[in-house]
């Protein structure tokens, strides 16, 4: 039941915030803050409760699960379940949720009730995505988070918001429909095999699919997820959406929504279609590397500070893609770590840019310069976040990217070499932000206030968490470990059978039966 509350709290909070807005704007803000705070507290509680078991637990079934009938005649159930991976993502969602509500405290003056409604519903949808273990339900949440995000960009965005919001919506919707087709394909394949109609993740895991069919079905999922991630060449919606969205929207987009793509790859693509995923792994890693370098180069070329930060996301998420498809535990751990740290550092940068925009009403770096003397606290925050973003040892991003590279090295040395070059580029663009915006001669005289307590709190939280993750990442790694091992095993088993019997491979249908058996043992 606690899982249902994780999803319901933001949804109800959103409705309340909308209702109460007519009476008091401040009340709407407080309600939202309390709702996300409660959500976060619940996630922390879950973490604490299962912390010890998690590290002991090599078996790795769900920590908590809940299942109700929804459309029983079509095998659709309301099935939520939590493992270490989901838990980490939910913790991130809660934390970034709090920070984004705080960040928009003064920025959003118009129709703030509806704003918070949308914000909280996005968070509710994202929580749902991380928890849903029924593929229909997953798709439902996947689409559900889009509409409020569309509203968020279209109403409270910057100048070019309509274009950006529609582009965002169509990209994600169209790719989502491909995923729906794949989900249905899997559903029918499973029905043909067993005579049972079900969308249940656990039951679909054991489905044996002819290799060519598996490839097509896998591609449907894959395209949907790498559009969200986003990977080159499907990333073009991202710079527009991130740049035009209001601060909270950018934070949620970069920090959470992109992670749903990576999460989907880990949770669905790899375990459901291990063979097909293994086949495309080199290409996926290649796309990851292209994203790393291409994103970094484009980031460097931007004058618009927010757009620059947006492109760095393309670059960072390239490491995630690389790590996931390296198919070993260490690389996947790196991917998860990068997801969390990127959420924090990029979210922080967006909040910083948003704060700056609120003060000087421009995002153009040509007009900045020498801001450090005027707003030293902002400068310090920017410096810290830039360091995190470039992967300075001692901060979380370093751990994530290093682990991803370690793992990728075992899988493909050439690609890893190129990916490493991306780290150099990251240094360049990160320092470039500081250089152009905060150092040098001031180009215009800005008479602006520095960060106040609210922003300092936000930045301090970011900093503490990033340093903690950089120095002592063990709790996070331990939490993710069982889930990651489970996923990694499913792929390894598959690739092993592939190499051992190349001839048989032509006729044998691929399956993750081994995994299925394990799951069943665990549940006893």
């Amino acid at each position: 039941m606690i899982l249902v509350w994780l999803f319901l709290i933001p949804v109800i909070g959103g409705l309340l915030a909308w209702m109460i807005d007519r009476q008091s704007k401040t009340a709407a803000r407080w309600i939202s803050l309390i709702a996300v705070g409660l959500d976060f507290a619940l996630a922390i509680y879950l973490w604490m409760q299962h912390f010890d078991q998690m590290s002991l637990m090599e078996r790795g079934n769900w920590l908590v699960q809940v299942q109700y009938d929804w459309i029983p005649q079509y095998g659709v159930s309301f099935f939520l379940a939590l493992d270490g991976l989901s838990l980490l993502m939910i913790l991130l969602t809660g934390l970034l949720g709090i920070l984004s509500v705080m960040a928009s405290w003064t920025e959003i003056q118009e129709r703030s009730g509806f704003f918070h409604f949308n914000l909280l519903w996005i968070i509710g949808g994202i929580v749902g995505v991380f928890l849903a273990m029924d593929l229909f339900l997953f798709y439902f949440f996947w689409e559900m988070m889009l509409i409020p995000m569309y509203f968020l960009i279209a109403i409270w965005g910057h100048e070019n918001r309509i274009y950006a919001s529609i582009k965002f919506f169509i990209f994600t919707q169209a790719s989502g429909l491909l995923m729906l087709l794949s989900i249905l394909g899997l559903y029918f394949v499973h029905h043909n095999n067993t005579g049972v109609y079900t969308f249940n993740y656990m039951e679909l895991l054991g489905t044996s699919i002819a290799p060519n069919v598996a490839m097509w079905l896998m591609l449907g999922f894959f395209i949907a997820f790498i559009t969200k991630l986003p990977a080159f060449p499907l990333h073009t919606w991202l710079p527009d959406a991130h740049t035009e969205a209001p601060t909270a929207g950018s934070v949620i987009l970069a920090g959470l929504m992109l992670k749903t793509g990576a999460y989907g790859l880990l949770r669905f693509v790899l375990p459901l279609f291990p063979g097909a995923a293994a086949t495309i792994a080199p290409y996926a890693m290649f796309l990851g590397v292209v994203g790393i370098i291409y994103g970094a180069i484009l980031a460097f070329a931007q004058n618009d500070l927010k757009r620059l930060v947006a492109y760095t996301s393309v670059s960072h998420l390239g490491f995630v893609l690389l790590g996931i498809f390296a198919f070993n535990e260490i690389a996947m751990q790196g991917a998860v770590m990068t997801m969390i740290c990127h959420g924090l550092s990029t979210g922080g940068l967006f909040i910083l840019v948003g704060g700056l925009y609120e003060r000087i009403h421009t995002r153009d770096m040509e007009r900045m310069g020498g801001l450090w003397t005027t707003v030293p606290k902002m400068g310090t925050a920017a410096m810290f976040l830039a360091m995190a973003s470039l992967g300075l040892p001692g901060l979380g991003n370093f751990i994530g990217e290093m682990l991803a590279l370690f793992g990728a090295y075992q899988a493909n040395i050439t690609l890893t070499v190129f990916a490493t070059i991306g780290l150099v580029f990251a240094t360049v663009y990160s320092l470039w932000i500081i250089q152009r915006a905060f150092h040098g001669e001031p180009r215009e005289q800005w008479n602006i206030k520095d960060f106040t307590g609210r922003h300092i709190t936000i930045m301090a939280v970011m900093a503490v968490v990033l340093v903690w993750l950089g120095l002592y990442p063990k709790p996070v790694l331990d939490t993710a470990k069982p889930a990651i091992q489970k996923i990694e095993k499913s792929v390894r088993v598959q690739t092993m059978t592939k190499t051992s019997s190349p001839i048989e491979n032509m006729t044998v249908t691929e399956s993750s039966d081994v995994l299925k058996v394990e799951y069943e043992n665990e549940e006893m």
């Binding site: 509409i147 529609i166 087709l181």
Partner: protein, 477 residues
């Protein structure tokens, strides 16, 4: 007529009788509200008698009609839609026309026609029902005889519908000439025995029947009349044309295909597939260009019929469920969308330009939320009924491995989003255009509230309706 036959026909009889009662009432005591109440009473009683009819269903009554769950389901759907249309019309006509009472007579006759249509198992009854429906529609479209646009629309509809009826009739005649029967069930067996689809006459006849039906369904390339008629007709009538008339035609076509085993004839299926693909693309692309909400909805309805045809082509039990669910959803959403337009068009001109709705979100949040819900449901977004409907259609398509059609459907959903979102964007813009819109009456609010809740309910908890449909259609195939 035996007792059980009488019971089975009760829904139709009640409608016919209520039409007569309203005729008498208008002759004796001309009063708008009384006519409305009588009409509604008739529709509701007819709806209640469906359960009586169900007790004796399935029952073949002469060769013409077959009262079964399939037919009764569509009769029920028609009746519910007609209740909404009657209520909307009452509000719409109040300020517009002197002699408003006769409208309800025609409406009831149209309902009778549609009900006959969906229960027919014979070319004669099919044609009879269809003409009863269509002729009533001429009158309904042209009812505001003092203004120009409805008359123009009615003339267009008259000519094209008459032509399409002629096609249909000629097609039936050709089939009859070759096979020698007009009963669907006999037709099926004889065609199978004689290999009749190899005969040129039969193929031509079937082609002409599909042409005639295509006109009524407004699928490409027989769609030309749709935008003009949608635009010109009074908004409640447009809602009726979009829902009842199309739904009835689709239902009888489906029954025809099931009973005559049309699915085993590849040529026909290929032809319908081409029609489906063309409808999706043409409907969506032309909708992109519209600045008039009614025309936009007209083109979008062309695309929606294309979606339904995907399930139609899929065939089988899942397809029947999908078609029925999609039609219910489509009925509710279309009635909601046109309902909003007609309620906002009180008095003067209809508010049909997208610009008229600018800023509606801020001046009337609830109304705008309802409208947004209808639009999102048409676009097939989760939490709305349209999503579940589309999901069922896609499931039916994938289930029959119609990958090509299903992918076309997915592409079209993405295209469709663009124009649906344009309407939403207009409502969200910070202009006060929408403040000029008239207030909506309490009755209107209730209708819209119920329709919005239905969209939400069918979108979040589809199990009961899906169950109902499944249990009613299980005997069909």
């Amino acid at each position: 007529m035996t007792g059980s036959e009488f019971n089975a026909l009760l829904p139709l009889i009640v409608i016919a009788v209520s039409a007569l009662i309203v005729v008498l009432q208008v002759a004796i005591y001309r009063h708008h509200l009384t006519s409305l109440i009588l009409t509604l009473t008739g529709l509701v009683i007819s709806f209640v008698t469906i359960s009586i009819a169900r007790a004796s269903a399935p029952l073949q009554i002469t060769a013409l009609l077959k009262i079964d769950d399939f037919g009764l389901f569509f009769i029920g759907l028609t009746l519910v839609a007609s209740v909404v249309v009657a209520l909307l019309t009452y509000n719409y006509m109040k300020s517009r026309e002197e002699n408003r009472e006769e409208f309800f007579i025609v409406l009831l006759l149209a309902v009778l026609g549609a009900s006959t249509l969906v229960t027919s198992t014979h070319f004669a009854s099919l044609f009879l029902g269809l003409e009863l429906l269509t002729v009533s529609l001429y009158v309904m479209i042209a009812y505001l005889r003092t203004s120009e646009q409805p008359l123009e629309a009615a003339i267009k509809y008259l000519i094209l519908a008459a032509a399409s009826s002629a096609f249909l009739l000629f097609g039936m005649a050709l089939v009859y000439a070759e096979i020698g029967t007009m009963e669907f069930s006999v037709l099926g067996t004889r065609l199978a025995e004689s290999g009749g689809y190899r005969s040129v006459f039969v193929l031509m006849g079937l082609g002409l029947i599909i042409t005639g039906a295509g006109f009524k369904l407004a699928v490409v390339p027989f769609h030309m009349w749709t935008p003009d008629v949608y635009e010109g007709a009074p908004a409640p009538v447009t809602a009726f044309v979009a829902t009842v008339s199309k739904g009835g035609m689709l239902a009888v076509l489906f029954r025809y295909f099931i009973m005559t085993d049309g699915y085993s004839y590849q040529t026909v299926i290929i032809a319908i597939s081409i029609i489906a693909v063309a409808s999706m693309f043409v409907g969506n692309f032309l909708a992109l260009l519209q600045r008039n909400v009614k025309r936009l909805l007209a083109y979008s309805s062309i695309a929606h019929l294309g979606y339904i045809l995907v399930a139609f082509i899929a065939g089988g039990e899942m397809a029947a469920d999908a078609i029925a669910y999609y039609l219910v959803v489509y009925f509710v959403t279309t009635l909601g969308a046109f309902g909003i337009i007609s309620l906002l068009s009180d008095g003067g001109d209809e508010k049909v330009a997208i610009e008229d709705y600018r800023g509606l979100f801020w001046s009337r949040p609830w109304l705008a939320a309802g409208f947004t819900m209808m639009i999102l449901s048409l676009a097939g977004i989760p939490l709305t009924a349209g999503f579940i409907g589309k999901y069922f259609v896609v499931t039916a398509g994938v289930g029959s491995a119609l990958w090509g059609l299903v992918i076309v459907l997915a592409i079209n959903s993405a295209i469709g989003l663009y124009y649906y979102l344009r309407v939403v964007v207009a409502m969200l813009s910070t202009s006060d255009e929408a403040e000029k819109l008239p207030e909506i009456t309490v009755g209107g609010r209730i209708i819209l509230g119920v329709l919005s809740l239905a969209v939400l309910y069918f979108g979040v908890y589809p199990a009961p309706l899906a169950d109902l449909i499944h249990s009613m259609f299980s005997g069909l195939i």
